[in-house]
């Protein structure tokens, strides 16, 4: 992995990371000193529903950034947009994003991956009817043998194939999948498939890896080792952006947290500051989460009137905002 190291020292030192993140202002869309991914005005609408509406987001190089938010917040859609699996509705009206200085506005999913930003999927896409080893070998970039003209002549690609094989075995060993290398990927457990998908993504020597719910459906013992792997990637100098629901995981490994709700960025900050942020608590629990619905006082006409007014005001505000944008 050392070839792909971007920041020479990496971000292995926790104190250095804390010092770095303490310099960021904790508000949505804040600027960072060395962003690897910069996203501007990405809007995705499905019919009348706005799934994603992100004004500005920067992801700092060499850190683990968590993207959290309640169900339906648009996290996965945002992932799909940034990695080229979906096109933003705002494609012609100001949607820009760049990765490591390269503009990605119009590129396809495969060229995003070639630029060095590789993703995994929420529902793992292990290639079930191929062996674990074949799965890994597919991850490597710039294979001469994948060119149709050269494929017929094995001496042209034999040597490169062997190098890739060594690398694949190394990675499989690291993810403790080596003894499974000749099994069909379909026979692996859900957690092992997650590991395989991550290992396969790493075969392409990415600069940044985007993990969509890496811990979903993984047993607690395996979660520990997965977390270890993700941290060691960061220590090797890779940037990690991941979507996760488990707050313990987020608190445990992320250096910076971005919160989405209803398609927008609502907060940014370190794990602790974000979790005490009222906007985040509102997003997860609703604005009236601390009101006791069993309280008889709520049934009085005055109180109901008050709540109705509050709702009306909120709706008006939202509409006004909608017209503006």
């Amino acid at each position: 992995m050392s070839e792909s190291t971007v920041t020479p020292a990496g971000m292995a030192d926790p104190a250095a990371r804390r010092e770095l993140t303490s310099g960021f202002t904790a508000e949505p869309g804040t600027a960072k000193p060395d962003p690897i991914l910069v996203v501007d005005t990405i809007v995705r609408q499905f019919g009348g529903m706005t799934a994603v509406d992100v004004g500005h987001l920067e992801v700092q190089r060499g850190l683990i950034t968590a993207l959290i938010g309640p169900n339906g917040a648009g996290k996965t859609t945002f992932f799909n947009l940034v990695t080229g699996f979906d096109r933003p509705t705002s494609a012609r009206s100001g949607a820009h994003w760049s990765f490591d200085g390269v503009k990605l506005d119009k590129t396809s999913a495969s060229s995003v991956a070639r630029a060095g930003m590789v993703r995994t999927f929420q529902l793992t896409k292990a290639l079930s009817r191929m062996t674990v080893m074949d799965n890994m070998m597919l991850g490597a970039q710039h294979q001469a043998g994948e060119n149709l003209m050269k494929a017929l002549f094995s001496p042209v690609w034999r040597a490169q194939e062997r190098e890739i094989e060594v690398k694949a075995k190394d990675l499989l060993d690291r993810f403790s999948l080596l003894e499974k290398k000749d099994d069909y990927a379909g026979s692996l457990s859900g957690g092992q498939r997650k590991l395989l998908e991550m290992a396969r993504a790493l075969m392409s020597d990415p600069k940044m890896i985007m993990l969509d719910e890496p811990m979903a459906g993984v047993n607690p013992a395996l979660t520990q080792s997965l977390l270890g792997h993700i941290q060691s990637l960061r220590d090797d100098g890779m940037t990690v952006l991941f979507v996760e629901h488990d707050m313990h995981v987020v608190r445990h490994i992320s250096d910076w947290v971005v919160v989405m709700a209803e398609g927008r960025l609502v907060a940014e900050g370190t794990a602790d500051t974000v979790m005490s942020n009222p906007a985040v608590i509102d997003a997860y629990l609703g604005a009236h989460h601390d009101t006791d619905l069993g309280d008889d006082e709520l049934l009085s006409d005055d109180k109901l009137q008050e709540i109705a007014e509050e709702v009306a005001a909120e709706e008006a505000e939202r509409e006004a905002e909608g017209e503006k944008s």
Binding site: T83, F85, A109, K125, S128, R129, M130, L138, A151
Partner: protein, 391 residues
């Protein structure tokens, strides 16, 4: 005994027929589409028909043989491009719809009589008679004139061709096939292919001993046609073997499993699918050229039913296997010949008249295909594990 002998002869004649081999080449192409890449091409007959038209029309216009073959292949190449451009970015079902309708369009254009210039090229539904384009190919034959019987030493020479010789021979054939199945299951390493090849050569010799085939050396459906077509089957198989074992072949299987996963790894899925469509189509065109050489270029003989014969042969032999297409085509045509001649011989005319047996054979093959897909979906040579985890 004579009826059994005549049934046997009919089967062996069908097995060595150049048209069986020609369909095998087209099935090899279809295997690249369907078996390895997962492209549901229901228009393989159109690739064959275009190859045949390109070849036959070029020769009737006085072009040399090599150029004519290249033109036939080029027609299939362009057809693949035109089909692939709009459909390969969409989901697989769309390719199926487009290929089946495009195949029908090609067939109807070929048989249409509306335009004089077109009619002069394709001769409408009657088609281009083989005698008009067969010449240059027949002239190449080094075999000379006359007849040759393959295996001059045959059952006639043992005990005067008594019935027990044939029965013993048939039992031996069954034994050899059983041995082959055992060898493919029990053996491993380098002995396995060697044992299988040795056993199949032995079986072939024994079959030819039991039912010697006599044919012209050079004439239509003669040995020259048979040898060239089967050699082409061999070459196609080797090419596919090399391609599939390469990283390119690995990519094909990856695309069959999950396109998005391959895209997320930075591969150009569209380009690879297009390459697969073209390569499979070229094999189809080559099969088409060899298919019409001993016959005529008749659009209706290369319609939907031929595509479905190809699929039957492919599923029978085993999709995504190397030798599956060849074995499948052999079994398909030999099995059909067996059903036709056996029902001619044993079913009384009051139950099934002789001219209906060909249709009856297709009914039996259809039922066999259904049973096959239900009880052995991987076909004869397919890898069961490749189908088991289809989540």
């Amino acid at each position: 005994m004579d009826t059994i002998q005549s049934i046997l002869n009919a089967m062996v004649r069908e097995a060595v027929s150049p048209q069986t081999a020609a369909v095998a080449i087209a099935v090899i192409g279809l295997n690249i589409h369907f078996g390895f890449t997962g492209l549901l091409n229901i228009g393989q007959s159109a690739f064959m028909l275009l190859g045949a038209y390109g070849f036959a029309i070029s020769i009737t216009h006085g072009l040399p043989l090599v150029v004519a073959v290249l033109i036939g292949l080029a027609a299939a190449f362009v057809f693949a491009l035109v089909l692939g451009m709009p459909t390969l970015k969409l989901r697989g079902d769309y390719l199926a719809i487009v290929t089946i309708s495009a195949a029908e369009i090609i067939r109807y254009v070929g048989r249409s009589v509306g335009y004089d210039w077109l009619l002069k090229l394709t001769h409408g539904a009657q088609g281009i008679p083989g005698s008009q384009y067969r010449g240059p190919f027949t002239d190449l034959s080094p075999f000379g004139d006359g007849n040759t019987t393959i295996l001059s030493f045959s059952y006639h020479d043992v005990a005067g061709g008594a019935a027990w010789v044939t029965i013993l021979g048939l039992l031996l054939v069954a034994g050899l096939i059983a041995a082959m199945v055992l060898a493919s299951r029990r053996l491993s390493g380098r002995i396995r292919p060697a044992a299988i090849i040795a056993l199949s050569i032995l079986t072939l010799l024994l079959v030819l001993f039991l039912a010697p085939v006599t044919g012209q050396n050079t004439g239509v459906r003669g040995w020259w046609f048979t040898v060239v077509t089967w050699v082409l089957v061999g070459i196609s198989t080797v090419v596919v073997l090399l391609l599939v074992k390469s990283p390119w072949g690995r990519l094909l299987k990856g695309i069959r499993e999950d396109e998005d996963a391959i895209r997320s790894l930075g591969k150009n899925v569209f380009a690879i699918k297009m390459q697969a469509l073209i390569i499979g189509g070229l094999f189809g065109a080559l099969g088409g050229i060899m298919f019409v050489l001993p016959a005529t270029v008749q659009p209706d003989s290369m319609g939907r039913s031929l595509t479905f014969f190809c699929y039957t042969a492919l599923l029978l032999g085993g999709a995504a296997s190397i030798f599956g297409p060849v074995l499948g085509s052999l079994l398909f045509f030999v099995g059909r010949a067996f059903i036709i001649s056996a029902s001619n011989a044993y079913v009384p005319d009051s139950v099934l008249s002789t001219d209906k047996t060909a249709q009856f054979a297709f009914v039996v093959i259809g039922v066999a295909l259904m049973l096959l897909v239900i009880f052995r979906p991987q076909g004869i040579l397919g890898d069961k594990r490749e189908l088991r985890f289809n989540v």
